[in-house]
């Protein structure tokens, strides 16, 4: 397998100013370009983590921004703009993913291809209590069955509530909770394989 090639850090820490969103609502195309520049890498990464396929992730990102542009007027600023955009994007990625699953049976090597696109380096401490190496974690995530991967990405990476995860997936809150629980156990086994527990 090729080594993952790209790594970029700290993008999500920049908040999108409300004034920029307002300018986009007024149809300011330059402001829209600025908004896209600030957010699209993170949105693409979210879509990639959900869909597991770079091509689907790019299409889902386009769908998400198209919906965002059309639905900007309905964004009232109750939540952070990024949070709203992530919800739109995860919906797009999930529907794209479902569509692909309907069309074709699981292709071998798909997870590896997705992993190639994900960040390469990061913290390297791997003992209990310390940070886990990014590449190791991404590899473990990619190995999870897709139902488990999706809930962990939504809940633990992007911080959605159990209720939001359930709404996104069209399942009950209890089912979402159980799925997250099982996914964490499985991920723990993958990451700390061979360690006591």
């Amino acid at each position: 397998m090729r080594r993952p090639s790209v790594h970029r850090e700290g993008a999500s820490s920049d908040r999108i100013p409300a004034e920029l969103v307002e300018r986009c609502k007024d149809g300011d195309e330059r402001a829209w370009g600025d908004l896209v520049e600030r957010t699209y890498r993170d949105v693409y990464t979210l879509c990639l983590r959900i869909s597991g396929d770079p091509h689907d992730a790019a299409e889902a990102t386009q769908d998400a921004y198209l919906k965002a542009w059309r639905g900007l007027k309905s964004f009232r600023g109750d939540a952070l703009f990024e949070t709203w955009l992530y919800r739109v994007a995860s919906n797009s990625a999930l529907s794209k993913h479902r569509g692909r699953r309907r069309r074709q049976s699981q292709e071998s090597g798909m997870e590896d291809e997705a992993l190639v696109q994900l960040p390469a380096s990061g913290s390297v401490e791997a003992t209990a209590g310390a940070r886990i190496e990014v590449q190791r974690l991404e590899a473990a995530l990619a190995t999870l069955p897709e139902q488990h991967r999706i809930v962990v990405v939504l809940r633990d990476v992007y911080g959605m509530s159990i209720q939001e995860v359930a709404d996104h997936l069209g399942i009950s809150e209890t089912a979402a909770k159980v799925r997250v629980h099982r996914a964490r156990k499985r991920l723990r086994d993958l990451v700390f394989e061979g360690e006591a527990g």
Partner: protein
């Protein structure tokens, strides 16, 4: 509480699940379960950190996204234009079809006359 019971709780401990006194009491006494909790906590923090790790999107994606306002407004203009001029376009198409049919008829008739 027994270790097996506590282990079942740990994936959600402090996040979606039980942080009650019996579990805390067990954790304070059991080094193995404490170490296991540390693994889950490490996993949780590391997953949170992934949010700031971005993959590099395809090169053309930015331009496709940045041009959405232009593309949607152009598409809207075309739709509006077609809707407003629907009758004119329909008349034009009808005239073209009738003209083509007339020409074909005239050509066929002329051919027959020439043969006779």
């Amino acid at each position: 509480m027994r270790c097996e019971e506590v282990r079942e709780i740990l994936p959600a401990y402090g996040r979606d699940g039980d942080t009650g006194l019996p579990v805390r009491r067990h954790l304070s006494r059991c080094a193995d379960c404490s170490a296991e909790l540390a693994r889950y906590n490490s996993l949780a923090r590391s997953l949170e950190d992934l949010r700031t790790q971005a993959a590099e999107p395809p090169a053309e994606l930015f331009h496709q996204l940045a041009s959405i306002p232009y593309r949607t407004s152009r598409a809207q203009e075309v739709r509006t234009h077609v809707t407003r001029n629907r009758n004119r376009y329909a008349t034009g198409v009808a005239v073209a079809v009738i003209g083509a049919a007339g020409a074909a008829f005239w050509k066929t008739r002329r051919g027959r006359v020439a043969t006779a």
